[in-house]
């Protein structure tokens, strides 16, 4: 699971939840930050997160004691049929996680002219883009993935399917790590475009807005 907070309060809460998610499903959980989140100072409040009920750990290696069998923790399955069974079980688990744990935020989405997909600090910048665009009479909506895996593909597809939406823009602080997922989610229903900066260069609201305008003008 990959969690992508957009501010420090969210980072605090997702970090706490991340441990519970890892514990519940026995999967690694990654926090995906960025340079801005790593360096910015913001007040945060602890104690806002309610811990989850965690499952019993009957599988743990605690010493056999009175247990009838040894507990063995490993990930090596040499026999193909056994490994395939393991893979199928894991796939079932991934499906369950995708169903229960996908997180995203919808912002200004209803009736939007254009839909932006952005996460982390980039999503904060996009809020300014949305405000600036509104002054020019353009309605920009945003789907902000909070989990990058599982990816909120259904939410993006649904938002993009609105008749008002002319296209979808993936804004990233990368050379395009998410845009392919966005394209898969939109599945050809609308044109998808990309704007990204990298190396520590932060995308500026006016540049994102300019990209949107040229995209709507049929150029990008």
């Amino acid at each position: 699971m990959v969690l992508a907070p957009a501010n420090l309060q969210e980072a605090v809460e997702l970090t706490q939840e991340g441990f519970d998610i890892a514990d519940t499903y026995r999967i690694p959980v990654m926090m995906l930050g960025d340079g801005m989140l790593g360096q910015v100072m913001e007040p945060v409040e602890f104690g806002t997160y309610t811990p989850r009920q965690l499952p019993e750990k009957t599988w743990a290696t605690t010493g056999r004691g009175q247990r009838p069998q040894n507990n063995i923790i490993n990930s090596l399955y040499i026999k193909p049929d056994v490994l395939e069974k393991m893979n199928r079980n894991l796939q079932k688990l991934y499906d369950e996680i995708a169903q229960k744990e996908t997180k995203y935020e919808l912002y200004n989405v209803e009736g939007a002219d254009i839909l932006v997909v952005a996460y982390g600090t980039t999503a904060r910048i996009v809020r300014n883009v949305i405000a600036q665009a509104a002054q020019e009479g353009l309605k920009v909506g945003m789907v902000r993935p909070i989990t990058l895996w599982p990816f909120p593909a259904a939410a993006i597809a649904q938002a993009a399917a609105q008749p008002s939406v002319k296209g979808v823009l993936s804004v990233e602080m990368s050379t395009g790590q998410m845009v392919d997922d966005v394209k898969i989610a939109v599945n050809g229903a609308k044109p998808v475009t990309f704007y990204g900066r990298s190396g520590g260069m932060i995308p500026l609201p006016q540049d994102i807005l300019a990209h949107i305008q040229s995209f709507l003008g049929g150029k990008a």
């Binding site: 290696t61 605690t62 010493g63 056999r64 009175q66 040894n70 063995i72 923790i73 490993n74 090596l76």
Partner: protein, 246 residues
């Protein structure tokens, strides 16, 4: 009829997959017998390496956990700190422990983790086809040193027992061999003492066991035992390197 020998209950009935003449099997037995004789089978938790002993979790009749290559001391550290009352051990080859896992073993010893490490030094990467290990002897032929280990190019073997004994954190370190019966008996005593060291809460213990790899050394089992005695023992002298109590 009187029973003169019985397989220890701390080994499962799974048949070993080791090559004929490989001494991994003897060392498994010594570890298992030690656990049984010390009465800690029910509280033992072992950590298996990546290497020929990767299936150790099928052989030791106790809770077992598999670690990523070289990371057994880190996994054992986690287990022991959560369960300080349990007996935690790792079983690692020289590729696993002395190469990719060098940092883990050094810092586990430096932190004086109260765990027991069984370190199998067969001077080679067995599982992957006999490549040169950090412990490969100067001049020794392996698949990646076909003209013999050239120290000008490949440097010198790492002497783990000597090295770790210099750390204040290590408590008991001994190098033993299993090339003949007297040495097997000595090895058993050392392994048992290492576990006792942990039971007594004295901190990090490691037993380095010189072991054969007839398959990748390209020798018949008996010749491999002789080669170990004639070549490895002089380079890796046997004996106690650290005993805080002594």
């Amino acid at each position: 009829m009187a029973v003169v020998f019985q397989k220890t209950k701390m080994l499962t009935d799974a048949p070993f997959h080791y090559c004929p003449g490989c001494t991994h099997g003897i060392i498994h037995r010594l570890v298992a017998e030690s656990l049984e004789e010390l009465g800690v089978g029910g509280t033992a938790i072992g950590v298996a390496p990546v290497g020929c002993a990767v299936f150790a979790y099928d052989y030791f009749n106790c809770d077992m956990q598999e670690a990523a290559h070289g990371r057994a001391p880190a996994v054992a550290t986690g287990i022991k700190r959560v369960h300080p009352d349990k007996i935690v051990f790792t079983y690692q080859g020289d590729g696993d422990l002395a190469s990719i896992g060098a940092a883990e073993i050094v810092h586990a010893a430096a932190r004086s983790e109260n765990i027991t490490v069984i370190f199998i030094n067969n001077a080679i990467y067995g599982m992957t086809g006999g490549q040169m290990a950090p412990t490969t002897l100067p001049g020794m032929v392996t698949t990646t040193s076909p003209y013999g280990r050239d120290t000008d190019h490949c440097g010198f073997p790492v002497k783990i027992s000597e090295m770790l004994s210099t750390l204040d954190g290590s408590s008991f370190i001994e190098r033993v061999s299993v090339h003949d019966v007297p040495n097997v008996i000595r090895a058993k005593k050392a392994i048992k003492k290492a576990f006792q060291c942990q039971i007594d809460g004295k901190g990090f213990s490691l037993i380095e066991v010189l072991s054969t790899c007839p398959t990748n050394w390209g020798m018949e089992p008996q010749n491999a035992l002789n080669w170990l005695k004639d070549n490895m023992v002089p380079y890796y002298p046997l004996g106690v390197y650290k005993d805080k109590e002594a």
